[in-house]
């Protein structure tokens, strides 16, 4: 108890330096966790989304552009291709399912993405405010149902009627039977999909005046991934219509290389900050070790044992390290709440083991430094 009392009062005396080094360590902990978390969340989301679709097919376009647009709605949509191409490819024996996506309609300037329920499942889009049922889901209630993106939630409400038109803006001759009902609001994705309306492509096909015989791209799932190369080859080299055929997993892997590089830079920065704060703690301790020699001798004269003096050197840094880890984790948890509104993907991941490894490493480093000085103190006390 006396050691804890002395440690507490000693830390209280050096509050400024103690807080500075503790906050620096806490900051580096939070930074490490946040970077690691974002990296893991984005990678996990990309892996899940890309694993749902084996191929993406569209009119000739840049492969990366096609992947980014088809999976994340980032960039510009690829040029349209005839719907018959989709129907033909969907009938291939190797194809388990194919889902078309068309982006040629709008409602009051808001882009309408037309597809099937499988598109929502593939992109893991969840909806809230279901009409006629509770909970969340993605199933269209009927062919005239539509979901609105999260950013449009303040403009439309479930049950509201949407009049969908061809092109980017309403025209005077828009058909009267193009009304769709808002069924629900999609949960935030952090992508341009949040500004889109999603409608069932079959419903649009059956609507007089806006029915279209084109699609912009299609997502394809094969029965067997072993046939991936063969199907890709067949569509690229032997299909009568020129097509872009992309395997999203391999494209994202190339993209992942740059993402990993950037992540590595951030991680290195965090590690440097962590090391600097550990060094700051070490130098604080070393300075205190020298400054406190007289104090230690005084404590020895009143009967302090070597292990108690070693404890005096050990407890302070340990408390500092634990406090820094606690504050760092709290900051990290708070930051994920804010990050969730900025990058909604980060909400999808829990604290992974890799982050626990970082925490453990930092704690053990602090503990090691403290043990080193405590050992010096113990040895010094015993050898006089």
């Amino acid at each position: 108890m006396v050691i804890l009392k002395l440690t507490g009062k000693c830390l209280g005396r050096r509050t400024g330096w103690v807080m500075l080094s503790t906050l620096a360590l806490a900051f580096s902990v939070a930074l490490l966790l946040v970077i690691s978390h974002i990296h893991e969340a984005v990678r996990s989301y990309a892996r899940q989304v890309s694993s749902e679709a084996d191929l993406v097919v569209s009119a000739p376009t840049q492969p990366m552009n096609l992947v980014l647009y088809s999976l994340f709605a980032i960039g510009t949509p690829p040029p349209a291709i005839p719907r018959t191409v989709y129907e033909d490819i969907a009938a291939f024996a190797e194809v388990a399912w194919a889902t078309p996506v068309a982006i040629s309609k709008s409602h009051q300037g808001v882009t309408v993405t037309a597809s099937t329920p499988r598109y929502l499942d593939t992109l893991q889009l969840q909806a809230v405010n279901f009409i006629g049922s509770s909970g969340a889901g993605t199933a269209f209630r009927n062919e005239r149902s539509a979901f609105i993106g999260a950013n449009l939630g303040h403009r439309y409400h479930p049950g509201e009627v949407l009049s969908i038109a061809s092109g980017d803006s309403p025209a005077a001759d828009d058909p009267s039977d193009s009304a769709f009902i808002v069924q629900g609001v999609l949960m935030e994705t952090g992508t341009p999909l949040d500004n889109n309306i999603l409608a069932l492509i079959e419903g649009l096909q059956k609507t007089r005046g806006i029915a279209s015989d084109t699609v912009n791209f299609m997502l394809i799932k094969l029965h067997d991934r072993h046939s991936l190369a063969a199907v890709q080859q067949r569509l690229q080299a032997h299909y009568p219509v020129p097509l872009a055929v992309v395997n999203p997993a391999s494209e994202l892997a190339r993209f992942g290389h740059y993402e990993r590089m950037l992540n590595g830079v951030f991680m290195a920065m965090s590690v440097v900050i962590g090391l600097l704060s550990l060094m700051m703690i070490f130098f604080n301790l070393a300075t205190a070790f020298i400054e406190r020699r007289d104090e230690v001798e005084l404590l020895r004269t009143v009967g302090a044992r070597p292990w108690q003096l070693a404890g005096l050197m050990l407890v302070g840094p340990l408390l500092q390290a634990l406090l820094a880890l606690f504050v760092g984790v709290v900051c990290y948890q708070l930051s994920t709440l804010f990050l969730g509104t900025w990058i909604p993907l980060v909400n999808r991941t829990d604290l992974p083991m890799a982050q626990l490894f970082w925490l453990l490493s930092l704690f053990l480093s602090s503990f090691g430094l403290a043990c080193l000085l405590a050992w010096c103190m113990y040895g010094g006390s015993e050898n006089t």
């Binding site: 009062k9 007289d294 005084l298 020895r300 009143v302 302090a304 044992r305 006089t384």
Partner: protein, 240 residues
């Protein structure tokens, strides 16, 4: 009855590097004796007291040092710490107090390390704090509420007073005071030496007090025996 030696030093040689710091053929202080050791700077007064506390025993080259019957050179680390905590009160010449503790916390510090000192203080004044206040009043500090300030906020003389109270609290068997009044005026010095002598006589403790007063000035009075460090230590004075 034959007096029991509280301190017995025989044929002691202590070296730092190639220099002899202490060379003491014989020094015996009996239990309950009140002794003043005078000497110039560098005569080895502090070195002797540090050795008796076991703070520099590894530099002993030869000889025997018995403190309260314990062989300081060969006693175990834990037993030495226990001996210091339970039986010895020590006043360091420099750095008298732990700077981040309050004055009262500094005074009662030995009781945090020794149940025996706690018990001794409680027997005398019911509580440890009361015993601290009793000692402080004898050192001309009347207001106990002023003891709550951090040690570093007091003058050097006041810090020495608190260090003396710390050495005396809990009735130690041996009190070693290294120039305990060096930062005080003559009035303060008189009060300090009187308190040290009174307390040690009242409890039967042995007191060894060093002082630098050796140049014809009036030194502290009332000690049973006065020793000249030049006679005790044959290593001679360290001169730089």
């Amino acid at each position: 009855m034959e007096p029991f030696p509280a301190i017995a030093v025989h044929d002691l040689v202590q070296r730092v590097g190639a220099s002899d710091v202490l060379r003491i053929p014989r020094l015996v202080v009996n239990s309950g004796e009140i002794v003043c050791i005078r000497g110039r700077n560098g005569s080895g007064k502090t070195a002797l007291l540090r050795l008796l506390m076991g703070l520099s025993r590894r530099s002993c080259h030869s000889g025997e040092v018995l403190v309260l019957g314990q062989d300081i050179r060969h006693i175990g680390v834990s037993a030495l710490a226990r001996l210091r905590a339970d039986a010895i009160g020590f006043v360091l010449q420099h750095f008298p107090l732990v700077p981040y503790l309050s004055a009262i916390d500094n005074i009662v510090l030995p009781c945090d390390f020794s149940a025996r000192r706690t018990s001794g203080a409680q027997k005398r004044s019911e509580t440890v704090a009361n015993d601290a206040f009793r000692l402080i009043r004898k050192l001309s500090l009347q207001d106990p509420s002023r003891l709550a300030k951090k040690a570093g906020q007091y003058s050097a003389g006041q810090q020495q007073r608190f260090a003396i109270a710390r050495a005396l609290i809990g009735k130690p068997s041996l009190v070693l005071a290294d120039e305990p009044a060096s930062a005080m005026d003559s009035h303060g010095q008189e009060a300090v030496y009187q308190l040290l002598q009174q307390e040690c006589r009242a409890t039967g403790a042995t007191l060894i007090c060093t002082t630098g007063d050796d140049s014809g000035m009036t030194g502290p009075e009332g000690f049973d025996r006065y020793l000249d460090m030049g006679d005790v230590n044959q290593a001679g004075e360290l001169r730089w």
